[in-house]
Assembly symmetry: C2
């Protein structure tokens, strides 16, 4: 009997979750200390019936029923204690440092965890956390963006497509390569905006400039593209010169709040996640100020079905200041106050899962190089981020929304979406 | 000088609106009493620079600049006073009773009014009004629906299409007739839902049954369709029998809150406007209860960009209990709490304007018949409702949203929308 965990002594374990775990494959194969058993079973309880096993040394707690898709191997009790205290933060910290390993398919294991643990903001605590995360002043925003996007173009070249498009691709057919899918996405955005030659377009958060250049090259528009990442802007300007597009595409190293001029179209792909809820009104005012009476706009962003803060570890290590909004937040706070009208919304989350799959495959193939450029914890952190993001999109934990909008009073809006699909993307 | 309105004596007229009106075409051609002039100029002030003239007898106040598209002829001072007190309610009341006439294009004049006067809910008064309009108990809902939909199928036959589809049509091409456009809409809804033969569909608020019958006939699904309009259900059942579809389409005279069973798809076209905000949670619970884990749903409804109560007169005479919601209200109150995920949203407001144009043309051609069935005020009320609705959609005062959604965790969602457009609608 000494080899059986004493479930009755577990604090807070009144239900049968843990006991059911014991009856199924959850029986520990060997026993650690009594404390190890208690703490590991509490963690098991936290992840509910997730189809993964938890292991500390030889102590293994499997899922209630069915086969686990992987095993989370916790290296030591200190890590276990940290996981219990702040699971969403410490999982990433431990993985990054090698204090936690995932045996089996990493994405499948993370999917299993996402399916049973929810980030949804409940109660005043989460609302307070959201309110406190008001870190998007001009300086803070620059710091946030610098943290992620200025770590070296060479690094991103290892695993992004040739044009360094670092947002969800669009796989118009099953055999599309990442390169084809990114090009299709750029074209899809232009089609949704119904760009016409000679029009003026402003882009907020232009990354390495691929969309701005595509718009000018393929659709004959003039573009002013804003970004506060110094490395990205430098690269984008160089591309514009190399392509002979510098007279039609102006890359500006500045904050979206400083956009001036008047435009036929406003476009932002993958910036809104960095804006922060408390600045949505400011973004709405910018759009309202710069958009022509017959203008239209486009927002492409990672979102949620329900309000929730970004995963604490991702916020700490990957995207400081990041927040994926819900549609009501975007429509209610950015568009509605300025009578901007939703024309078309599409959810592309499965495209993002596929995009991330491509990125991770390339990243894994380049891991040695990443280790050399940075170090092992960095390589592990980014692998976890890419795998975790893929899992978040396949499980519906995250969404990818494309929102096309127009001035409320203009009738120059597309009457049909058929034109988007007449020619292959 | 006696023939000049004494603008300086106008209470509350501190700005130059009225004076500018005088300098332009707004000069009264002849003068009523001083009081008439005061009150008419106040009304002029209320509608701001709307491109219409206001007339009381020979007293005419034109727009600040430009030519008016029509003249609102107020028959007597009592009507003018009522208009000043409660403009949105009394405009309709006066028009209906013949105390107000619109010379010129009725839709153009209403568009002009919509462009300068806003229904947007501002401040606590409007929020209170919204809160007070909690009139959607099972009995109240039945009363509301009876008021509009049970006034006689013969009446609707006069001006709707042959299948009595009383919601926004889809004009797939410019030359589409109303009949073609309504058929295209039914098919478009089915395509968006990606209906497969043998699937189970529940419809909430099925009107005269056209969509339910189309789904069963053209897509081989089994349908249970709910409606609390007695006349509509009776008609729909008769149609099902006549078409030999009674074994696959069940029409049920009951409230959406009483839907039972499990379904692959939930669909509701044109019911949400009658549900009332305070019942959105109940609707969400119904959808959550009856939808399969891989199920998807569809909501088609008249909406707004910004929260606002329905026009007071429309609420009194046409749609008691009606409320056109915003997207944040629909997504935030119906979908999000149950982790239902937005897949696709489309705004079809210009299609509704065109639909209403068809309905009004047919209605006008049948006016004598309507007068015989009912009376002159009824005929005038419905003409105003149809013309006003057309104007609301052309000016962007109202929207028509189609929202496709799915369970948050299912990956059986369409990866592309191209399939909607491969075959002609």
């Amino acid at each position: 009997m000494a080899s059986q965990p004493n479930t009755s002594s577990l604090p807070m374990t009144s239900s049968t979750q843990h006991e059911r775990g014991q009856r199924a494959s959850g029986r520990p194969s060997r026993v650690g200390t009594a404390a190890d058993r208690v703490f590991l079973s509490l963690l098991r309880r936290y992840i509910q019936d997730a189809q993964v096993s938890l292991a500390l040394g030889d102590l293994v707690y499997g899922p209630t029923s069915g086969e686990p898709v992987g095993t989370i191997q916790i290296r030591n009790r200190a890590t276990l204690m940290r996981l219990l205290a702040r699971p969403t933060l410490e999982f990433g910290e431990a993985y990054m440092k090698g204090d936690l390993e995932v045996a089996g398919d990493l994405v499948a294991a993370l999917e299993a965890l996402y399916r049973t643990t929810s980030d949804v903001a409940r109660g005043w605590w989460h609302r307070l956390a959201l309110w406190l995360d008001r870190s998007h002043s001009l300086n803070a925003a620059r710091h946030n963006i610098h943290h992620h996007y200025d770590i070296g173009n060479d690094f991103y070249r290892l695993w992004l497509d040739e044009h360094l498009v670092y947002t969800c691709a669009y796989f118009a057919h099953d055999r599309a390569s990442l390169e084809e899918a990114q090009r299709a996405k750029l074209e899809y955005v232009c089609r949704k905006l119904r760009l016409q030659p000679g029009e003026r377009v402003v882009e907020a958060g232009c990354g390495w400039g691929a969309l701005a250049l595509h718009m000018a090259r393929e659709h004959g528009v003039r573009v002013r593209a804003f970004n506060i990442s110094h490395e990205q802007i430098a690269y984008a300007r160089e591309q514009a010169r190399a392509e002979g597009l510098a007279d039609r595409v102006e890359f500006i190293e500045d904050d979206y709040r400083h956009i001036t001029g008047r435009y036929d179209a406003f476009v932002s792909v993958g910036m809104l996640e960095h804006v922060g809820l408390e600045c949505y009104d400011a973004l709405g005012r910018v759009i309202d100020r710069v958009l022509d009476p017959n203008g239209r706009g486009f927002l492409h962003f990672i979102g949620r079905n329900r309000p929730a803060p970004l995963n604490a570890w991702i916020r700490k290590r990957i995207f400081p200041g990041g927040y994926p909004p819900t549609l009501p937040q975007v429509v209610g706070l950015i568009l509605a106050p300025f009578d901007l009208s939703v024309v078309d919304i599409e959810n592309l989350r499965l495209h993002y899962a596929r995009t991330l799959h491509h990125w991770r495959s390339r990243f894994e193939a380049a891991t040695d190089c990443v280790r050399t450029m940075f170090d092992e914890p960095f390589a592990r952190a980014w692998l976890l981020y890419l795998a975790g993001s893929e899992a978040a999109f396949t499980t519906g934990t995250m969404q990818l929304f494309q929102v096309l909008f127009a001035r409320g009073a203009t009738n120059r809006v597309p009457i049909s979406r058929k034109d988007l699909y007449v020619r292959p993307l």
